[in-house]
Symmetry: C2
Subunit: 384 residues, 2 copies
């Protein structure tokens, strides 16, 4: 090692921002106290935790007490969806949800809302999947495979019509909209009132913050059964001594990415256009997946039917270029991402998929080199 690397997998993991590391530092060995303790040290830890909550709530345009700190997005999703569904009822999830969302509803009644070939789910497709037993709908702000940005605010409005209709018919079943904002929080506006969601999951690990730190925003109308019960921390929804370092970390990370998102989105968009342009020129039969307009600014998904994308990833790794075959969150790499099937890809297309996700570690000046090496690796792999 020691050679220069080019990281194109920001959707799988992001390095902690130095300012995030600094924000966490006081809580390892100095203000390490248990926030439930009655003495001054405990109150200092509690104050730091609540400061982090205020920061997060301000960015979401929400109330501090609506924020539940969790140990990552998988946990947030289970607290949200499991917490609603434990009371009974049916769920609707989009066909391109993260494996955690799919798993959280798997043991309950659920319907998959179909996506189009671009990984886009329409409000109509969601509404068609909702029935009178539906208590929760989960659609990510943007998915982790294609980076397609979903029309969550429109879905929220469509669900509001369904709620009104239920009311007139005397159906009292609640209907909540949960959204996984893990991939989107670096790029999109996260004001919950504009999104129209009832619950929102965020993940520090995708925002240049620490891993296994997340949050769940819960509108005050939401009633959940506790998931991780015990000491009663985080409103009883996530028991366990609070991770104050993590809370300070996610608050700082979230504040930094949201504060810089307009300029960073522009920077990412320029790099994305440049990288796609160069790759398309070098590999003319390459197909760019996802939505041509509604996509995360630094997210690229391409495929070439018949390519062994896994071998391309290994080849590129040898040259210090790090990219993914597909959603790297699936620990079991023998299984294809369900998202690829959901957009109608054949096995040969799915296995020929590459995901290139740009972020802080990329510079425009590196793109020509990176594009050249990727095109070369593809050509070699195809025996051209």
């Amino acid at each position: 090692m020691g050679e220069r690397t080019y990281y194109l997998d920001h959707a799988a993991a992001t390095p902690c921002d130095e300012r995030v590391i600094a924000a966490m530092a006081p809580f390892w060995a100095e203000t390490f106290y248990n926030p439930s303790a009655g003495y001054e040290g405990g109150r200092m830890a509690r104050q730091a935790l609540e400061n982090a909550r205020v920061t997060c709530s301000r960015i979401l345009g929400a109330k501090p007490y609506e924020i539940v700190f969790t140990a990552g997005a998988t946990e947030s999703v289970h607290i949200a969806l499991g917490g609603v569904l434990a009371g009974g009822g049916h769920a609707v999830v989009s066909a391109v949800e993260h494996a955690a969302v799919q798993a959280a509803v798997a043991s309950y009644a659920f319907t998959v809302a179909h996506v189009d070939g671009r990984g886009y789910v329409t409000p109509e497709a969601v509404a068609a999947a909702v029935n009178d037993e539906t208590v929760v709908v989960s659609v990510a702000l943007a998915d982790n495979e294609f980076g397609t940005v979903q029309p969550v605010a429109e879905i929220a409005r469509r669900l509001e019509r369904i709620r009104n209709d239920r009311r007139t018919r005397g159906v009292v079943t609640p209907l909540y909209l949960h959204s996984d904002g893990s991939q989107a929080a670096i790029s999109l506006d996260m004001k919950v009132s504009r999104l129209g969601v009832d619950m929102l999951t965020l993940n520090a690990a995708k925002c240049y913050g620490p891993k296994q730190v997340g949050l769940l925003w819960l509108g005050s109308q939401v009633r959940l059964r506790p998931f991780l019960s015990g000491g009663g921390q985080e409103r009883g929804l996530r028991s366990g001594t609070e991770n104050v370092a993590g809370a300070a970390g996610i608050a700082t990370a979230f504040e930094l990415v949201q504060g810089a998102r307009h300029s960073e989105n522009e920077r990412l968009a320029v790099m994305r256009t440049e990288l796609i342009g160069r790759l398309s020129a070098a590999v003319p039969d390459m197909v760019v997946d996802g939505h041509p307009k509604k996509h995360l600014p630094g997210h690229i998904h391409i495929h070439l039917a018949g390519l062994d994308a896994e071998r391309v990833v290994f080849r590129l790794s040898d040259e210090g270029i790090y990219c993914a075959t597909g959603a790297a969150c699936a620990a079991n790499k023998q299984t294809r991402s369900l998202s690829l099937e959901a957009v109608g890809m054949s096995p040969a297309e799915a296995d020929g998929s590459l995901r290139l996700t740009l972020g802080h570690l990329n510079k425009l000046e590196d793109i020509p080199y990176v594009a050249g090496r990727i095109a070369e690796a593809i050509a070699k792999e195809r025996g051209l």
Copy 2:
């Protein structure tokens, strides 16, 4: 602030050891990669995770694949107990278990095994609570209120007789022994074969490691339903991108405390004797709770009926002495610890309880001063 503080609440939280902070450091912004990624960086993260697993397994005398890294003890307990009980059956828990254990069994059939006035649970009390439906028994190695060390190995042998008896009668229900080692890991031998347990929970936050980092050791005979499902990480039992920094942190923390436990136990025992001796001399009617012999070396629990211990804690906080009224893990301080009731304390005795837990931050030379201030605060509070 800025004045010197004296920390006597190591059972509630421990500061991260500097070597733990150093062990986590490379994984924030350098080897930050997703361990599921196929490129060299991902493999480096995976290697670090597996190295941490090997370290932990060696200390437990176990196999690396038997270690599941979790986001803290509350999560470990839910994965273990919920994972067994989701398949049906009955649980037995001691009356001095942590709130997380009590909560994890609360929605299932369970029986509480009674403790004596010292917070000690006998193998006979456990066996008496077991019936043919019992699938899991949970007894902490030492409880967090009194620091009483439980006869877990003897309980294990008693359960083995029950298993043998079941076998001869053709009863095929499995019977697992889970133990929460959170409080004990700094002091006791943690070899799982000597303990005789089937599942063991550990908590980095009580071992001079990071908060919301834990592990669950699972004997290969144990069959669990997945609790946090999704990407399938950690054998499918704890999905979510792995917290490599946390894993390196718990492995280092656990290695350090276990490596130093004999000398540290001696040091703690000397301080404990000194502190109890001085307090008893100054406050002759003070009662020392817990087991006179089988206790954690740095753990002190005392009570004075009629004392307002909460006010004593506040008084002492003003003088920079940090101690607890009872188990600080309970976020809701309006409720009394169930452990205090379990040993037969009256409300006046329970409310007059102080917990003083020694650790790295204490020095023998400070004990006379600390004892003096505590005795003084008690005297003032009693109007003496």
